[in-house]
Symmetry: C2
Subunit: 461 residues, 2 copies
C-alpha cells in the first residue's frame, strides 16, 4: 500500500515520471477507469504536470476524469497557456464551475491572460461575491500587492475569547487559504492587530484576542511592488503579510507560497536581463519561435549599433593596420578580456542592488573597489599577455602595446561595469538592463580606441 509509506524525494520524482507515461498509455488505450485509479494518490501539482505533457486532444479528456474538487486544484496549477487552451474547449457549464471555485488570486491571473471578451462574459456569469472579489483584484496594477493578494483571510473582532475564536475557526477554515494568522479589525475594518494560530493555541482559553494580539505588525499597501512584498516576508520570516487600502482598511493577504514563486520569477527576470533577453511571464520554451525572435532581436539590434561604432573606429585606422596588420590579431583578445572583467563587475553590482546586499555601502566605495580590482586583475593578465604576444610574433613594441592597453581596458571596464548599473538605478530603471552584453559591447568601443592610441604612441606610427 503506497499510502502507508512516506514518499521520498527520489521515488517522488520517479512517481512523477511514471504518472506521466502511464497516463498517456491509458488514455491511448481508452482505459478511463484506469486513469481515474492512477490519479487517486497523485498530488494536484503532479497531475497538472502530467496533463501538460499530453497532446492537446487528450488534455481535455484527462481533465474531465478528475472529480470536481480536484479539477479546480489541478487547474490552478496548470501553465497559463494550457489553462487558456482548455477553457476554449470546455462546455459552458464546466468553465463556470471551475472559474467560480478557483481562488481569487489564481482567477485574476487567468483573466489577465484571457481575451477581454471572454473575461467580460465570464465575469458576468460568476456568482456576485466572486465577481466582486475578482473585479477588485483586476483593478490593481500588475506586479503589485493588490494583484497577488487573496481576499480570503479570516478577520475577527478583538473582544472574542480564545475558545470562541477556535470554535469560529472550525467553521471558517475551509473558506480561507491561510489560517495561520488571524486578523483583528475594528468597526471600520481597519487592521488593529494580528493573532497567530500559534499564539491562539498556547494562550489560556478565556483570554480575549485584544490581550494576545500583536499590535506592532508589518503591512503593505495595495500598490506596493510584489518584489518588495517578497523581500519583507523573507526579511521578517513571515508566513503572510496583510494588505491595506488607502484608508488603511484590510483588503487581503499575500501568502509565502506565492512569494516563493514571485522571488523565483524575479530571479529569472534578472538572469534573462543579464543574458540580454526580455523576460515575460510565459515559459520561454513554450512560446513560439516568432515571439522568441521578437523578444531577442530588439536587444541584439541595440548591441549591433554599438558594434558598428567599433567597426567604424577600426576602419578609420586602416592606415595603421596596413602598416602593422598584426595589431588586428589582438583586438578580440583585448575587447574580450575587457568585456569579461566588466561583466564580472556589473554582475555583482546588479545582484547586490537587486537583493539589497549593497544598501549599506556607498556608490563611490563600490566603484572604487571595483576600479582597484580591475587594475589588479588587468596587471596580472597583462604580464602574461605581453610575454605571450612577444612569443607569438616577435615584436616587443606590439607586445607592450597590447599589455598596457589591457591594464587600461580592465580598469575602464570595471568602472563602467560597476557605475552604469548605479546610474540606471538612480534614474529609476532596472539596473539589470545594464547587463553583461551591454558592458561588453560598450567596452569594445573604448577598448579599440585605447589600443590604437597606445599602439600609435609606442610604435611611433
Amino acid at each position: 500500500m503506497e499510502n502507508l509509506n512516506p514518499i521520498q524525494t527520489s521515488s517522488r520524482s520517479e512517481l512523477r515520471q511514471l504518472v506521466r507515461t502511464q497516463l498517456q498509455i491509458l488514455l491511448e488505450q481508452g482505459n478511463l477507469e484506469g486513469v481515474k485509479a492512477l490519479l487517486v494518490p497523485v498530488q494536484p501539482v503532479d497531475i497538472a504536470e502530467a496533463i501538460e505533457g499530453l497532446p492537446e486532444s487528450q488534455q481535455v479528456i484527462a481533465f474531465r476524469l478528475l472529480n470536481k474538487a480536484e479539477a479546480i486544484d489541478v487547474y490552478e496549477h496548470l501553465d497559463s497557456s494550457v489553462q487558456q487552451a482548455l477553457i476554449q474547449k470546455f462546455k459552458h457549464q464546466e468553465v463556470l464551475d471551475i472559474v467560480d471555485k478557483m481562488s481569487p488570486d489564481d482567477r485574476a491571473r487567468l483573466f489577465d491572460e484571457l481575451p477581454a471578451k471572454v473575461v467580460t462574459r465570464l465575469l458576468g456569469q460568476l456568482s456576485p461575491k466572486e465577481r466582486e472579489t475578482t473585479a477588485l483584484l483586476l483593478g490593481y496594477e500588475e506586479s503589485t500587492a493588490g494583484r497577488i493578494m487573496t481576499p480570503e483571510y479570516i478577520s475577527l473582532k478583538e473582544n472574542l475569547t480564545v475558545t470562541e475564536t477556535l470554535d469560529r475557526l472550525r467553521r471558517l477554515a475551509n473558506a480561507s487559504e491561510v489560517i495561520y494568522y488571524l486578523y483583528v479589525t475594528d468597526a471600520q475594518r481597519h487592521l488593529t492587530g494580528i493573532v497567530s494560530l500559534r499564539d491562539l493555541v498556547v494562550s489560556s482559553p478565556n483570554k480575549i484576542l485584544d490581550e494576545i494580539m500583536t499590535r506592532d505588525f508589518i503591512c503593505v499597501h495595495t500598490d506596493t511592488d510584489q518584489e518588495e512584498v517578497g523581500r519583507l516576508i523573507q526579511r521578517y520570516d513571515l508566513l503572510a503579510l496583510p494588505v491595506v487600502d488607502r484608508e488603511q482598511r484590510l483588503v487581503g493577504i499575500v501568502t509565502i507560497d506565492d512569494v516563493l514563486d514571485i522571488l523565483e520569477q524575479e530571479a529569472t527576470e534578472d538572469i534573462y536581463a543579464l543574458g540580454g533577453l526580455q523576460a515575460d511571464r510565459d515559459n520561454y520554451f513554450q512560446t513560439n519561435l516568432v515571439t522568441v525572435a521578437r523578444r531577442r532581436v530588439v536587444w541584439l539590434l541595440v548591441l549591433l549599433l554599438t558594434n558598428t561604432v567599433t567597426a567604424t573606429i577600426i576602419s578609420s585606422q586602416e592606415d595603421l593596420l596596413q602598416q602593422m596588420a598584426i595589431l588586428a590579431a589582438f583586438i578580440p583578445l583585448l575587447t574580450g578580456t575587457g568585456g569579461n572583467v566588466g561583466a564580472q563587475s556589473s554582475t555583482v553590482v546588479i545582484r547586490g542592488l537587486n537583493t539589497e546586499e549593497l544598501k549599506d555601502l556607498g556608490t563611490g566605495k563600490v566603484i572604487f573597489r571595483e576600479a582597484v580590482a580591475g587594475i589588479m586583475l588587468g596587471t596580472i593578465l597583462a604580464i602574461m599577455v605581453t610575454i605571450w604576444a612577444y612569443w607569438l610574433q616577435g615584436n616587443f613594441s606590439v607586445a607592450l602595446s597590447v599589455g598596457i592597453s589591457l591594464i587600461a581596458i580592465a580598469f575602464l571596464a570595471s568602472v563602467a561595469g560597476s557605475s552604469l548599473p548605479f546610474l540606471f538605478c538612480s534614474f529609476g530603471l532596472d539596473p539589470a538592463l545594464m547587463s553583461a552584453p551591454f558592458i561588453t559591447t560598450a567596452v569594445d568601443v573604448l577598448g579599440v580606441l585605447i589600443y590604437f592610441q597606445i599602439a600609435r604612441t609606442i610604435l611611433g606610427l
Copy 2:
C-alpha cells in the same frame, strides 16, 4: 504611540534608516539608556542590520545593551563575519550564553565559519543536549537537508486525542521553531504521519491523531541537496519538510523561511556563474580585495587562454589582412554579435535546467529551436549589416563576406549556447558553468575561422 499603528513598508524602511543613524549618534554620545530605549520597538533583524553598520569597536557595546533573549535573536541575524568578530571579543560566559541558546541550525552555520579550535572548545562547553544536536548537524555534508534542518520539531504518538495534543502543544510550543506541523512517530521513531495545526484546530476534540493525520506525505533524506529541498517545498506549497535518516527515523525538519534564503542564495550562485564569477557564502562586498581578485582571476585566465587561440588564428591570417586590412574592422562586430546570440541561448537553457522548466522538453528539440532562432536572428541582422558595411567602405564582396559570416556565426552560437549547458549537465556539472562569458569566448574562435574562410572564398584571395 507608534505601537498602535501598523508599520507600513515605506515607513518601515525609513525606520530602519533612522535606527541606523540614531544608534551611532547615541553610542558616540555614550547615551546607553537612549540606545536601550531606541531599540525596544525594533525587530531583531533590523537591530542586526544597524549593528552591522557600526564601527567594529561600537558593535560589542551595542550588542551588550540588548537583553538576553533578544541578544540571541539578533545574533542569529548577523552576517557571519560580524558573528565571528563579536565572538572573539566577548567574555567567555557571554559566548556560552549565546551559543548555547541559538537555534541548532544557526549554530551549526556559525561553527562552520569559526576556526576549528574555537569550535572544539565551544562544543565541549555546551550543555550535553545542545552539544549532541550540534554535533549531529555538523556531521552532515554542507548544502544538504541534514545541515540546514532543525531538530526542534514536535513529535507525538498516534493515539493522542486532539484535546490532549492541544494541551501538550501549549507546553511544547516554546521549545519548537515551527508548530504548524506535528509529526506522528511510532515506537522506533519512524515517521508515520503528519498533522497540520490546521487539521488539529478544525477536528472534533475527541478524535485521535491516527484518524486525522496525513499518511501520504513527502519527506527527504539527510543527504538530499538543499536546492532539491527548496524545490519540493515550493512545488507542494509546504511550510516545512520532514527529514529522515537512513533507517527512516525522523531527525529534523526544514522550514520554509530557510528555503527562501536558500533559493535566493542558489539564484545568486547562478547569476554569478553567468557573469563568470565564483560565488561563496560571504557577501561579495564585504570580502577583501585580494579574495575578490582570487575569485575572479581564475575564470579570466581560462577565458584568456581561449582568447589567445583567437589571436593566434588572426595572426596566422596576416597575409590576408595585409592585402585587405579593412577585413579587420568587422572582427569585433562579428564575434560580438555571435557572442550575444550565444549568450541569449545559453541563458535561457541554463535557467531552464536550473528551475526544471525544461524537464519535459527533449534536448534535441531545444537545440533545434535555438538553431532555427539563430538562423532567423542571424538573417535579420545580416541584411542590415551587409548594407551598412557596403556603405561604410564601398567594397561589396567584403560586405557580403561579413553578412554571410554573420548568419553562420549566429547559427553556430545558438547551437553552442544551447547544447553546451546540456553537455555539462549530463556530466553532472552545473550547467551555469557554460555561461555567457564562455560561450562568447568560444564563439570568438569559431567566428574568426568562419569569417576568414568565407572572405577568402568570396574575395578569391
